[in-house]
Amino acid sequence: MSLVIKNLTKQYNQHKTGLSDYSITIEKGILGLLGPNGAGKSTLMKIIATISKPTKGTLFLDGEDIVTNPDHIRKVLGYLPQDFGVYPNLNAYEFLEYIAAMKGVGGNGLRKRIDMLLEGVNLIADAKRPIGTYSGGMKQRIGIAQALLNDPKVLIFDEPTVGLDPEERVRFRQLISDMADDCIIILSSHIVSDIETIADEVAIMKNGILLTKGIQADIINHVEGKVVETLASTDEVAQIKAKHLIINTSRQKDKTRVRYITNQPEMGAAPVNAGLEDAYLFLTHNNA
């Protein structure tokens, strides 16, 4: 199974471009999308989910053009949008039955399938309450359950861990890791650690352009040997900030631990292992 995107452009108006000549091939496994706000992640996901038409370019799922034939992907699509809602007067069963109808899922096994999915996202105890009474995390979990209703082959999760507590995030990661063997999973998140933990491949975007795509190790190679840490006073922090790209700062008694990227480290700075977040900030900063 592969999703081939070629020269995709989304022009909202004269001044606003969502995607610019974007090409990528996505195979089975988990692709993590990283990028600052306005990078075009949601635009790309909406186009793949067929709810937004590209201005130019093509999308083929297993050789079938899904711009002209969107129903081809819709049958096998699970989509969790960033800013979705629910009908507050329905309970979890009714809501999932409704979404199942949208996805064309029925039959005698539907109720059992819903039961198991609700169990999987730990909502079975509250399944008969109106969804309007759910907390943010519970709504997010019902969103995850609906995405899995039709045994999807293409899963799109736009910021899926928003509103989930740390335990739920771990559970979510485990859940989608299990599915990655025979599905295309596209996942966007601002939380780099979420992507770092589960993504097989990472694509970094900025201003509607694909900066890089590859396995994590290759992406981290961009900054290998350039990441250093040092303890600095307030004045020194300001100096480092002026000369280098700061990744992180944390207070330690009267000093500040500073992690930054550089080719010429300051005195006393020690090299450390680079991570995905370092590479991400380096790439998006260098392509400003």
């Binding site: 937004s52 949008p81 800013d83 329905l90 109808a101 899922v105 539907l110 309450r129 559970r171 299990d178």
Partner: protein, 527 residues
């Protein structure tokens, strides 16, 4: 006061920067054009049996002002109502609740932004009325004062009062839009019965929020004086159709005499709304529904429940899930759509609707068809207006548009669910016509049921909101009860050619369906 100004400005901009407001303005321009009908028109807006006013500057200005005060008050409530609910739905209210703004300050700002919206529309009718003077009148001078006086003394206080009523209704009737509409229609009926009262006294003039009792009294006096008569039927206001133009006596009227009592009355209707809003501020929930006075705390059922603790991080085994069986039918949609329609509204609302439904069995057939059914259908306005807008309101459209063949399955299901509800409500009347073997009437009712649903769907999709449909259905229902033949969507009025009438309803329904499908198809791929 600075923050109140900011709230008014933001609220005003938010309301006026919408397609539905633009469409409302366009409809208002057309309505304003009809406020002063040409002398040969088949309807009148100010009727004195046997007499007709000459179209001079005063007549055009005052009639336009009077009609704007009445009509804009009537549909303006529907237009501006819901400002607080919007803050609840968007959760902006929670932010507002944490600011230093007082309850009165907040409600006052809502009232004033309502007023600004209505005033904008009144400004349009004012300009149209001036254009109308030059279109309808020849040989009489244009006097700007005859346009300014009715708009300043009739329209402004009337709209001020309506703006306050919309806020007060939301404070006391909270989110129950239908009950707010019923209460308003009831109150509006009382106000109009006072205005149309043939008796005239200082108290009646004082209590007239529109101020037009003074105008109709002045017209009556003019006719009585000019023709040495005593008008028995008085002056009627509003659209009256099938007017005959034979044997009418002309009179020239030059406007009202402004008395001290009239001015005090106008001043009262500018201060009374403020007092109403001030009083209601003591009962305002300030977006904390559990602490609003006089309301019992609802237990866990309606409260947000806490997250349950997570069990072991097991996930689930996909291999154990039952296999997916495809079913692309629309019956499950219809079921859910009906469920959503039924669950909107409290049991008291359904009890109230049920009592009207039962009454259709017993009242005379023509009354049931011409009055009870259109009213019962109108009372579904908040349900039907949501039919095609709720996905976007509840941000579910991402799922809908990404689903398999959404246009061919979702939209028909919504329409069918709406039609099923409308027919169920009309079923006593259909049963009675069935017993009377009146097939034409049954077809008309079915056509009407399809119309009100398609009209809701089409306007909802076009305007991406509920207001436009709510206002237009109200105006259509009002005009239908006034026996206006061109709005008869359910065959309540006799038509010369029944086949021709049915064909028109059918064509309109097909047109509405095609527009709905076309626009929805475009939107579903352009989020």
């Amino acid at each position: 006061m600075k923050y109140i100004y900011s709230i008014i400005k933001a609220d005003y901009q938010q309301r006026t920067r919408s397609y539905s407001f633009l469409i409302t303005l366009a409809i208002t321009m057309y309505a304003a054009y009809s406020f002063v009908p040409p002398p040969t028109a088949s309807y009148t807006t100010l009727t004195i049996v046997g007499y007709k006013g000459i179209y001079n500057s005063a007549w055009v200005g005052y009639v336009s002002g009077m009609m704007t005060a009445i009509m804009l008050s009537m549909y303006g409530f529907f237009l501006v109502n819901g400002g607080i609910k919007k803050d609840i739905d968007t959760e902006v209210g929670l932010i507002i609740a944490t600011t230093p703004i007082t309850n009165f300050g907040y409600l006052l700002s809502k009232m004033l932004s309502n007023f600004m919206v209505l005033l904008t529309i009144a400004g349009v009718t004012f300009l149209v009325s001036i254009v109308l003077f030059f279109l309808r009148t020849t040989g009489y001078p244009f006097l700007i004062s005859t346009f300014l006086i009715p708009y300043l003394l009739f329209v402004v206080p009337a709209l001020f009062f309506i703006s306050a009523l919309a806020v007060v209704a939301e404070v006391f009737l909270k989110k129950g839009a239908m009950w707010q509409y019923i209460a308003f229609i009831f109150l509006f009926g009382i106000i109009m019965s006072n205005v149309t009262n043939t008796k005239s006294s200082s108290a009646i003039i004082f209590m007239d929020s529109f101020g037009i009792k003074t105008m109709t009294g002045s017209i009556e006096n003019k006719i009585n004086k000019q023709y040495h008569t005593t008008l028995s039927k008085g002056v009627s206001m509003g659209f009256i159709f099938n007017t005959k133009h034979t044997d009418v006596k002309l009179f020239e009227w030059n406007g009202i005499t402004i008395t001290g009592l009239f001015l005090i009355s106008r001043l009262f209707w500018l201060t009374f709304p403020l007092a109403l809003v001030y009083l209601s501020s003591f009962f305002f929930h300030r977006f904390d529904f559990r602490q609003s006075p006089g309301k019992k705390i609802k237990k866990l059922k309606n409260e947000q429940i806490a997250d349950s603790p997570l069990p072991a991080l097991a996930g689930f085994n996909r291999a154990l899930l039952p296999p997916v069986v495809t079913d692309y039918g629309i019956l499950p949609f219809i079921k859910t759509e009906l469920l959503l329609l039924l669950r909107k509204g409290s049991k008291w609302t359904w009890l109230f609707l049920g009592s009207i439904w039962v009454s259709i069995f017993f009242v005379p057939l023509d009354i049931a068809h011409a009055y009870i059914l259109p009213i019962l259908w109108f009372l579904q306005v908040t349900r039907l207006s949501e039919l095609a807008t709720k996905e976007e309101t509840y941000r579910l459209h991402y799922f809908t548009y990404a689903s398999y063949k959404p246009l061919q399955r979702m939209l028909p299901a919504q329409i069918l669910a709406g039609v099923v509800l409308a027919i169920a409500l009309a079923s006593p009347l259909i049963a009675r016509y069935l017993i009377a073997s009146n097939g034409n009437a049954i077809i008309d009712i079915l056509g009407g049921a399809v119309f009100i649903v398609l009209f809701a769907v089409c306007l909802g999709i076009l305007s991406q909101g509920k207001k436009l449909y709510e206002i237009l259905l109200f105006l259509i229902t009002y005009a239908l009860i006034e026996k206006a033949p061109m709005v008869d969507y359910l065959g309540a009025i006799k038509h010369n050619s029944h086949i021709g009438y049915m064909a028109i309803v059918l064509v309109i329904n097909i047109f509405l369906l095609l527009v709905s499908l076309t626009v929805r198809q475009y939107r579903s791929r352009h989020l």
